[in-house]
């Protein structure tokens, strides 16, 4: 055990996976000599050399296409996309190829690639260094989508991803890369996919949040507690597969739901969770389902604090839900 930041936990997870299995190889832009623009791959080039920590030309198409080819041959490639905002040149490879390889080949060619990429706002990154477009990937059948919110989960989910048999989009909340530290188990610590984390128990309202939205959601829950409102906070951790039963069970208990994400609201994951509840927890619902999300605008720069959900907005939505019934 030891206290690590989230990005250090990612680094630790990569290093341990590489030590344990020579088939694990990394590829991406500036991940080798430079150690990654966020230092997630710091030290790995030195330890594992350029045949396992591959600095590629500036082409996300090439990175993901090559990673797929490696995976078909039996390696376990972990590709880094420098910012989630720059994943789109690889979008065709991801949605047309990676997501569908096992399916279209009738299981003959499974294709296990992990794509790591930092996502999200709050770092003054403007339109192109802040986006949260997890919904694109969640909507694409054949991809698993993972978002840790603690150092321990970062390592544990990453190791599960690397040992999985399916393609995994691994989204790292860069805003809290260094802002949170926590105990991280040594060794082969794995956090299973499809199991939500109960961050805080409560009986009055369920707050669902993941990634960098967990800290402000917890902050909101604390504010609410001081007012006598007991909010439950649930972090799904894996968006696909989603722990639907934990989500439904929580709302069966509380009767109220607030869903939080940074991504734009329209067709975001919040819509899916709300739909799920409106179908499966319908008779337990006591109040309209609220979403506290990024707005349906591109991500702004100077005014990102206006755009982003925060504890105040989350608490207000929760209060409304409680007052509504």
């Amino acid at each position: 055990m030891g206290e690590l930041t989230l990005v250090q936990a990612v680094n630790r997870g990569l290093a341990e996976a590489m030590r344990a299995d020579p088939d694990v190889v990394l590829l991406g832009e500036d991940i080798g000599v430079n150690g990654g623009v966020f230092r997630a791959t710091e030290g790995l080039y030195k330890e594992f050399g350029e045949s396992r920590v591959v600095d590629t030309p500036l082409s996300e198409t090439g990175i993901v296409g090559a990673a797929i080819g490696m995976a078909l041959y039996g390696l376990k490639p972990v590709a880094e996309i420098q910012f989630m905002d720059f994943i789109y040149p690889a979008f065709d490879q991801i949605v047309s190829e990676l997501a569908k390889f096992r399916y279209r080949s009738g299981g003959q060619f499974p294709c296990h690639v992990v794509i790591r990429t930092p996502y999200g706002g709050g770092i003054k990154g403007g339109l192109y260094h802040s986006q949260s477009t997890e919904a694109y990937f969640c909507h694409t059948a054949g991809l698993k989508v993972v978002v840790p919110s603690t150092p321990s989960d970062a390592k544990g989910l990453l190791l599960t991803a690397i040992h999985d048999e399916d393609p995994v989009i691994f989204l790292e909340p860069k805003r809290i890369y260094r802002a949170v530290t926590g105990e991280v188990p040594d060794g082969d610590h794995r956090v299973p996919f499809g199991q939500a984390r109960l961050v805080r128990e409560g009986s009055d309202v369920s707050l669902f949040a993941y990634g960098a939205m967990v800290p402000p959601t917890v902050e909101a829950a604390e504010t609410l507690a001081a007012e006598g409102i007991h909010a439950e906070v649930i972090d799904p951790r894996t968006l696909v597969p989603l722990d639907e039963s934990a989500i439904v069970a929580s709302v069966e208990k509380t009767g109220r739901a607030v869903i939080v994400h940074e991504a734009a609201r329209f067709c975001g994951l919040g819509g899916e969770i709300a739909a799920l509840l409106a179908e499966k927890a319908f008779y337990s619902l006591k109040a309209p389902i609220a979403r506290v999300t990024g707005y349906d605008t591109p991500f702004p720069y100077a005014l990102e604090h206006v755009y982003l959900p925060n504890a105040e907005k989350i608490a207000a939505a929760a209060r409304n839900a409680v007052r509504a019934s």
Binding site: V25, S51, R52, V54, T56, P57, S59, T61, G62, V64, G65, A66, A67, I68, G69, M70, A71, L72, Y73, G74, L75, P77, P89, D92, Q93, S96, E97, K100, F101, R102, Y103, R104, S105, G106, G107, Q108, F109, P110, A141, G142, K144, D164, E165, D166, G194, V240, P241, L242, E244, S245
Partner: protein, 363 residues
Amino acid sequence: MASAESVAQGNSSAGPESSGDLTPEQILAGYRLMVRARATDERCLSLQRQGRIGFYAPLMGQEAAQVGCALAVRPEDWMFPAYRELAVALTRGASLRSILDQLLGNSADLTKGRQMPNHFGFADQHFVTASSPIGTQITQAVGTAMAAQRRKDPIVTVAFFGDGATSSNDFHAGLNFAGVFRTPTIFFCQNNQWAISLPREKQTRSKTLAEKAEAYGFSGVVVDGTDLSVVYRAVRDARARAVAGDGPTLIEAQVYRLGPHSTSDDPKRYRTDAEVAQWKERDPLVRLRGELITAKLLDEATDQKIWDEARAEVVAVFAEAEKVPPMAPDSIFDDVFARPTPRLEEERHEAAGHSQSLGGPHG
């Protein structure tokens, strides 16, 4: 840009076996494969017109290029086809039955009825299941080559694609990665002069497609793709260079798509009969047949027998394949992931409740 021959001469590292030419027996075997492919094409076009298969994209005109290429590589090499590589599959040893099962999407289809006809794949043959988006297999072939490099396996990967695909993103990324990492990859471009209705000269203004390799720091060669032996030699030499660590090669095999782009296409809308007639004179089967007869490796009667057998085989095998029942309805939920998620199991259950809609198409 070097010619195939000049590149071949410059290559000192090719081992003895790889410098050998095709033996007469091999050429004859190649001819038989070409005939099987052509017989399959002819039959499938007619089956599609009869509504017995849903779609077909013929390769006629490209047989020598495909068979020549596939004869020059080894079983352990990996093939990354586009959707027209039927003769490559046959040459690799894929069974005609398996190919026809795929065209039907029946329950014997290795791809489990998931894809349109022509998108077959055979793991045993290292023949990767095709997809429709143009060019995507190119970067993948490079990635597999990088993996083989890492494992120190002396194999090559071959990416198959058309003239149109040279405009794709993956062509650029794939050839660039191959150049930078000197991967053992053969980029086998069948320039059949058309990308659906777009003629080669409107696809790009470079003089040849092969010269595009120079932009990535390696060589390209243009070969006559209607000549089995010429193609064989070019691929053989490219393979030898690749496994010797001398990097990738782009081969432009000049051929002609004698048929329509697919059964959905009417080439009369965009090209002249005269052009087609001109290229029909260079039909690779007619050419090779002539050469074989001249060389007394083949006579008219044997040739007739080869054709009759090939045609009979397709008819017989298709009749068998047609008898195979369809996939089970709930098989659509398999292979999304290694193991279905709870949600997929729930959807499987939901679908099972609609027995009527499972009855048949457009139910």
